[in-house]
Amino acid sequence: MSRLGYLLRRLLLAIPVVVFGTSLTFLIIRMGPIDPAAAIVGSPDTPSAQQQYERTREQLGLTKPLWEQYVDFMTDLLTFNLGQSWVLSPGTNTYDLILTYAPRTLWLGFWSILIAILFGIPLGFYAGLNPNTRIDYFVSFGGIVWRAMPNFWLAIILLALFAQSQQYFFGFDWSNFVVQSPVTGAYEFSDITTRDGFIREFKRVLPAALVLGSASMGNEMRIGRTAVLETINSNYVETAKAKGLSAKKIVWKHVFRNALIPLVPVITSEAFLLIGGAVLVEVVFGINGLGYLFFQAVINGDLPLVASLMYVFIIVLVGVNILQDLLYTIIDPRVGLEEGGA
């Protein structure tokens, strides 16, 4: 099967996944006891409130039979007509909301992936090249513990440490280091292109990014280590050694390149953890990003917004999945193109 054919097949398979996932969302939202109309206008006590309640039900399409609601729901979402928020910020377009909130989550996600890669992979590779040394034990054990820490707990602890850094780091004042920056709160991107603005925002994102990337960093350390160990013991490395290649060349050209292959799914699957896990980190650090928006929409009963956001998440995650499989086939041609469904 050609690569193009493979891509088409993956896209074709993604359609039922998106449809089914969105239908599940509809099921959860509509089958539950939350009355969207009551969430919007409050419980209908007085006659005028009753009238408004009825009107809202009408507007939301709740008076139609369920199957018709389902068809409307699906056509709206599948044609990317994401509607608007009803409770959280009434009348605002979902697109506008996403555009406002998404940059903060993207900024956070970008750095948490990058920091995890920059620290996790080198540490893991180093441990793999020097197995059973003290550093190896330190890295392996550290990776395991680092990964086992609950994000929200780590976030609280780091937040406290960074906020009171003078107390814990011998007078080192994090908030006023280079440029002044508060530890919590939403990011400010208006002057991100200037040097000070960039440093300020980087300083602000660092604790949260460390937390959000913690699990992936632990994974990358562990998998990087095993991958290097495996490649070192493989036959072609033996051959390279036998024909007198320098150790440096063996490591850089033969070991690292191949050891990167198993890390691809780990890196791409971070997208799942980032979108999902961002809620807790954003709540602790007071960043109003997408996770925070979703959480607020859920607890306030803003069901139309919840559905639209969930749909967007599904699309993103399915897209990342396809991208991962494609990357895999490009990096490692040995991976069979037929077994794509799995």
Binding site: I144, R147, N151, L159, A160, E230, V279, L280
Partner: protein, 511 residues
């Protein structure tokens, strides 16, 4: 004897049950029931049963109490019309439940007060509450590990005296675990966690209803230095004076409060004892974890078996279904479901723990299924499956007898690794205020409660529960690693994708 029969039977290899026609002809190896084998050589079994009886007798009251009072019988049988004679049964059960047990807070009380000149009143042997509590903890753990060692001894006896085979593959698995230090660390910590959950009423420094759930309906006595006499006060008032709220008031780890109550890891901002909170929180975490794993494990095994046996369209439909569930960010889905289901009748069961277990089960099966699908597909390619099919064996029988045993090990590995993730996930939901309802203890709520005090003198409220979680999660991962290496020693050098699934399973919900 039936008792030993059952417990000795478990380690038997399923392969042994198959009749081997060759040996059957000779008659010597004809499958003799275990009962007859024991009857032929009753001494080791009798010693073992005597030991077991002794161990059970020590705790009989507590075991009966657990069976009668902790399991919600009314909930289980509430739907049925009242059974005649139920009253006398429950009365008899209550009588058994009230029998004394060795390891309870009544036998070794740690709650008392100090009267100057007269020493400690009301505690075990007049010792200080800290020491009385420590004795109880040591005894409970010694008892539990002795019990487990005795159960292990049953396996050793079975192997030495009653098993036909000198060697089974299972012996090698056990042997490999024997040298697996990392896995052993996992086993020890996991067992310590299980004992903490199981013996929570005995291990806690104060009864949970008195200290945390309903403090204003219970009273304690203490020695009032100003009045110079023993006074009574409600626990709620006492708790208010022993709250940990940073610099204004703080009761840290290993200290006493003003009412002579000992707090091994300090108090909560509400004044409740943190250790009691943690012990009962362990119960609910474990309940949710096991229940949801049972649900997702059964679903995953069933889908994997059917998908692997029939393959093709059926398997593909499972792929689509699991992909759809996994396409939704797990934590957000959990948040959504727990909010939506919170107000239903389901959400009220056991402070919301049951609904959480259902939610985690319903969203957790795809990961488990993915982990066992590969092994299931591999087994389904073996010739004996073909043979069974052409022999006319019913598909479900083939799946159960010839495929399930091969995927059970993998299921166990991933279940162990997922359990840590579930504990973290439940704590994360509670942290957001969604999971288990207050006042029922749950670890995440302790972390939430201590959030504002991390840099103050009340640092223990958030930090210690977090360390508990890290330890337990690490231990479950270590246990999973240990089981994997024991079952399949090649797996460590095996496929890369296996590793990636491992890590994903261990990562859990992203909480």
């Amino acid at each position: 004897m039936t008792d030993t029969n059952e417990s000795n039977d478990t380690p038997r290899d399923p392969d042994e049950e198959l009749h081997d026609p060759r040996t059957g002809d000779e008659g010597r190896f004809e499958d003799q029931p275990l009962r007859e084998r024991i009857a032929a050589n009753p001494r080791p079994a009798a010693i073992w049963v005597a030991g077991l009886t002794l161990l059970v007798a020590l705790q009989f009251g507590a075991i009966a109490n657990f069976v009668v009072n902790t399991i919600p019988w009314s909930l289980l049988f509430g739907i049925l019309p009242s059974i005649p004679g139920a009253g006398s049964v429950s009365a008899a059960g209550q009588w058994f439940a009230d029998l004394p047990a060795l390891l309870t807070r009544e036998t070794i009380p740690n709650e008392g007060y100090y009267v100057p000149g007269e020493g400690w009143q009301g505690t075990f042997l007049g010792l200080s509450p800290a020491i009385a509590w420590a004795i109880r903890v040591v005894l409970v753990y010694a008892y539990s590990f002795a019990f487990l060692a005795w159960v292990w001894y049953a396996y050793v006896l079975f192997r030495r005296h009653y098993r036909y085979a000198d060697w089974t593959p299972r012996d090698d698995i056990v042997g490999r675990l024997r040298t697996h230090r990392w896995g052993q660390f996992g086993i020890v910590v996991v067992l310590a966690f299980l004992v903490l959950a199981l013996f929570a009423p005995a291990l806690a420094t104060a009864p949970v209803e008195q200290n945390i759930e309903d403090p204003y309906s219970h009273t304690i006595e203490y020695y009032d230095a100003e009045l110079g006499e023993v006074t009574e006060t409600t626990v709620g008032d006492a708790n208010r004076d022993s709250a940990s709220r940073g610099s204004s008031s703080n009761v840290g780890p290993m200290t006493y409060d003003e009412y002579d109550r000992f707090h091994p890891i300090g108090t909560l901002p509400s004044g409740g004892d943190l250790f009691t909170f943690m012990a009962f929180g362990a119960r609910i975490s474990l309940l949710i974890g096991l229940l949801s794993l049972a649900i997702s494990g059964i679903a995953a095994a069933t889908l994997a078996l059917f998908g692997a046996y029939y393959k093709g369209k059926l398997d593909l439909s499972f792929v689509v279904a699991s992909d759809s569930v996994q396409a939704m960010p797990r934590l957000l889905l959990l948040v959504l479901l727990s909010v939506v289901l919170a107000d239903t009748w389901l959400g009220g069961l056991y402070s919301g723990a049951i609904v959480l277990a259902l939610i985690f089960g319903a969203t957790g099966w795809p990961a488990l299924w993915r982990a066992v699908r590969g092994p299931a597909l591999q087994v389904s390619e073996k010739e004996w499956i073909d043979a069974a099919r052409s022999y006319g064996q019913a598909p479900t029988v083939t799946m159960r007898r010839h495929m399930l045993p091969y995927i059970l090990g993998y299921l166990l590995i991933y279940a162990s690794m997922t359990l840590g993730g579930i504990i973290v996930g439940v704590a994360g939901l509670s942290f957001l205020g969604l999971g288990v309802d207050s006042p029922t203890p749950e670890w995440g709520r302790a972390i939430d409660a201590g959030q504002d005090y991390v840099t103050t003198s009340s640092w223990h409220i958030s930090l210690i529960p977090g360390i508990f979680i890290v330890l337990v999660v690490t231990a479950f991962n270590a246990l999973g690693d240990g089981i994997r290496d024991a079952i399949d020693p090649q797996s460590d050098v095996g496929g890369d994708s296996d590793d990636a699934t491992d890590e994903a399973a261990a990562g859990g919900t992203g909480a």
